[in-house]
Symmetry: C3
């Protein structure tokens, strides 16, 4: 279906906002000055406008827990936003690693329902993309926008493993069989090369301390996503171009390979990698997520 | 044909330029100091050199008029360049929306001839790429260089619609049939997601005020471009990597999908999107266009 | 083979490093504060750490000689690194242009052996990628890491010419037949458009002064690289996204087309082109190479 076929596209009502020249100005007034009288360059916006205050629910990916978002959440909160970082089954302090994708999805759905959250920006990173795909199917009315940051957007019937290059998939399968509890532990060399490639040596080692074995099964489960692909929810994709967890093209990768499955979506691009900026540049990452999330 | 087969590539005549150390220096003198004695980093150039003054003709794309260029033109003029921003048939104050691609081309050709412009840098944005392809066929001797900025480079016999993904093409066809005068109006949601994705909410709304219905026919006309592909005119392509009007790869997109059709071309890359920087960062966009245009 | 299958991935031993707050801190201590108490943004690292001092061997590409690295080498040395820039057969002051790829490889291998270098970061640029592939086969025990910067990574049995688009390959063959000594001279127009596209006009001309005819044969020799693809040596790829020597995708290009042949590798991305930054931004290029090289 063509996602923008409604033909119903009213210009929002007139509104006022502050103009740095010290005047109030109605930009939708027919007698207003056209924009080109005011090409002002500052902070990427030609006129100042206060940030839109949003409610974020941030869903982490594999080999991470909810603390993954600590830096970004603190940054967003300091700007006035409301931020939630739910933990999900098989992660964080949960001792049970025998989890399914449905259990993980239920963790986030229950969290949203129990806190009775509405009008949320639901953000998924990496594997978390598959989680927000399924969560969105269950609580679509509570979601204002879906934001994928270097996140899987699976096709209906796919698993995460289906999107891995054969060599990586084979490697994951080997690591899985090596474990005693059906988990996959990332070797440091792989983590350093693919997840924190732009980090300093010390930061990479420090980051690796927070990595624990990931429940394997959800990575290999094929997901029914028919309901997801019928949702009219607005969508954005944040792509960081030094992210090399997946090869950048030739049939793989975050953007455009998976992002374009979203149909109409807003693209925001940054220069980071898969993990590092959550710790080294939380303000930068928070800005990119905000750019993807505002109306 | 191989575009650089001439074998005729003289080094330009010796010239003088100012060296910041306070000395005049002939870089082509056999007795001159080699460059590596002077690796100076400043403003991206290891030695200062004054800008080359150029004559620009800027050709806008669809859902825009000549005011699209106001910020960039002002910036280029402030640097000493001469800038023209022709309006073309079916756009701006022209009440007649029943136009053809040939009429649009004629507008620009007539403008160049009437002002008797020579040695011009002919810049096309988006749909304007197809216009400068056809203009170049008619006044090749007046053109110093062609610069495409996130612009269509059609193959011989193609239309703009041929380069759209099936879903987008279908959407445009639906919007076309919904109109009373064979135009296509962009819904705000589509414009916001694809044309001004990096803009603030307020800027996006303000930008949308300048969008009016686009004559549909020229987007679906197949163009004879045999003469274009025989032109030896130097060519450049400016690509902004947050531009998501077309999917970024897998058979679609500005670069490399369409840019490589130019044969030998100079690539310049920036971090903007399809529309926003004309208003929020005109100096940045002007710099990228200048980098693509200088000898 | 899966390059990270060993399952042997100990966290490095505890170590001390300076914390800017004026305290020594053991990041691997179980009682240490978790990282998220200290999200400090400065210079892209959330804690200060001194650079790791490395030994670099920099291998240039075609239409260049060892002076290509002068700016970068000076920069790296100023930071405390040890840097070697070997010249190889058929280049620099070598009057004999009738060289083979094996002779070029031997130049670098002999250089490394005679200086008895160990634990080196072997960096190859452009054609130099094929050289470090072959050098690595002969002295693998001396190499700590291979770093490719916009460099060819040939498949077993391939030549450089095999990776060129048909039009470029045909052009090179024409230029080759035009020469009297089986070399290829780059016309200025081609050099300006593809090798120094981001440079100012003056810098482009100055850079071109250092270009001399390149021995053609090594570009067309097919290389046996079976031994290379069995090496466990860590690998990195530095990709500059304004580099347009090869088309950026659709079956060609540096990244991901050739980089992914390395198997597991660390990706670092910068915004430069193929040649320019060696002269205009040596510190920037040196930083990117360092980021690719550190542990």
């Amino acid at each position: 279906m063509f996602p923008y076929q409604s033909g119903n596209y009213p210009i929002p009502n007139p509104y006022y906002r502050f103009v740095s020249q010290g005047q109030y100005y109605n930009p939708y007034s027919d007698t207003g000055w056209p924009w080109w009288h005011y090409p002002i360059e500052s902070k990427g916006s030609y006129r100042y406008s206060p940030p839109q205050l949003l409610t974020f629910v941030l869903v982490h990916g594999s080999w991470a827990d909810a603390h993954f978002w600590d830096g970004v959440a603190a940054e967003l909160r300091s700007q006035g936003h409301t931020v939630y970082t739910p933990e999900y089954a098989g992660h964080g302090s949960d001792p049970n690693k025998k989890v399914t994708h449905a259990m993980i999805t239920k963790s986030v759905v229950d969290y949203i329902k129990q806190l009775n959250l509405h009008d949320i920006i639901l953000v998924g990173h990496s594997f978390g993309g598959t989680v927000i795909q399924k969560v969105a199917e269950q609580v679509p009315d509570r979601i204002k926008r879906l934001v994928f940051w270097d996140a899987f957007v699976l096709k209906d019937g796919e698993s995460v493993a289906d999107e891995l290059p054969p060599q990586t998939r084979q490697g994951f399968e080997q690591l899985r069989t090596m474990s005693k509890d059906d988990t996959i532990m990332l070797p440091f060399e792989l983590f350093r090369a693919l997840f924190v490639n732009t980090a300093s040596t010390e930061d990479a080692k420090l980051f690796y301390k927070s990595v624990s074995p990931e429940p394997a099964k959800p990575l290999f489960e094929k997901l029914d996503l028919k309901a997801f692909y019928a949702l009219p929810t607005p969508k954005s994709y944040v792509y960081f171009y030094q992210d090399n967890v997946l090869p950048q093209g030739e049939g793989y990768g975050w953007n455009p390979h998976m992002s374009t499955r979203l149909g109409l979506f807003r693209l925001i691009v940054g220069d980071g990698d898969h993990f590092t900026d959550t710790r080294t540049r939380p303000a930068y990452l928070a800005l990119k997520i905000y750019e993807a999330s505002r109306d």
